[in-house]
Symmetry: C2
Subunit: 202 residues, 2 copies
DNA sequence: GTCTATAGATCGATAGAC
DNA sequence: GTCTATCGATCTATAGAC
């Protein structure tokens, strides 16, 4: 048999496993952990509830498996151009437009934050596999461009990414677009101005 | 009678109303909307479930009333000193230490984000009453200090606050302190460096 | 292996005693 | 007004047919 044994919970390679995880993803992303029923997961996945329980021990096990899987999907972090003014703007646009190109990503981030109190290890997996690589990548870029005269590459990387994430948080995730409106490019321009403008000694 | 009539849902001034809201706060902040039962709210509040339903129409009404109330509590935004290097550091420390001084605030933000998909108007109330005043206050401060030579005061205010919020998000809310550790003051120093360093024309 | 059917607990909401 | 008791629906999880 080529198929992975269901008793290995982390393998998750069979068709039925895939169906279940697809159903679970759709339901958990839309309704959260407590708001999702195993009946609905089974129906959405196109299998019976008993089948779900033959592949996953319980609701919590299914949820953990799903979120770990989503957190392990490689995120698209763009190649960095040599010229900072070009590279940094491209990174910023890529992050800010992620919500448009991959609308499910916003729901995924919301879910991880929502359950970070009851499932702290899932939030940590998210930080380890998604936030950390992005910060490190940008830190390396800043560190390899001494002409920017940045005293702390990693802190600057967090400021850069933090500004973009907060913008997404307020404008889209929390539906603040019409309450505190701002053009995407205004934020990027100011961010690049702060980082790229030649600075004299104080 | 001095007491507010229970039939006015927004007044919410009686002792029982206060008990119910206290119980609701404890439960909703800990377990989210779907994860909270009205039985537990009643027990934690020290009243019967029927009493809860005599003060609030249903679970959704109680939840909305609670979150609106919490979002209307004035947040402590510090007075801004005249000297930017002092004022901005103080603002940053105040925001970053909020999690220590008022640990429930983190759970409140998490709850609002968690339910921002199913209760978008609550997220908007949060943006309107908490995020917007903070951004406007800092924007005014930047605008009234032209010696900082900031081309866009509001965008800079969002960068400033966004960096701090993202730091709180990764380090505390998502439990990333041990995965991507960083001293609080390193972030503040870099943030102040970017904003305060005299910049020449490019 | 996958299904239907169901057990046992808990949910939101209400009726009726006092 | 506030309580206890309970209804009907829905929940997680499993037993048993095939």
């Amino acid at each position: 048999m080529a198929r992975t044994k269901p008793s290995e919970p982390d393998a998750a390679g069979s068709d039925k496993t895939e169906q279940i995880l697809q159903g679970a993803m759709q339901e958990f992303l839309a309704h959260g952990y407590a708001g999702t029923s195993m009946d609905k997961v089974a129906k959405t996945g196109g299998v019976s509830k008993a089948t779900v329980y033959s592949y996953f021990a319980d609701k919590e096990g299914l949820f953990v498996a799903l979120v770990q899987r989503l957190a392990r999907k490689k995120v698209h972090f763009p190649v960095l151009d040599e010229e900072p003014a070009v590279a940094l703007r491209f990174v910023a646009i890529t992050i800010l437009d992620q919500a448009s190109h991959e609308p499910e990503y916003l729901n995924f981030v919301r879910l991880v934050i929502a359950e970070s109190g009851r499932f702290p290890q899932l939030a940590q997996t998210f930080v380890k596999n998604l936030a950390k690589p992005g910060i490190e990548r940008l830190t390396q870029y800043f560190a390899s461009h001494p002409e920017l005269k940045l005293p702390d590459a990693e802190a600057t990387a967090r400021i850069f990414i933090g500004s973009l994430v907060y913008f997404q948080l307020t404008q889209h995730m929390m539906h603040g677009k019409d309450i505190i409106p701002m053009e995407r490019d205004r934020l990027i321009d100011s961010l690049l101005h702060l980082i790229l403008s030649p600075q004299s000694n104080s």
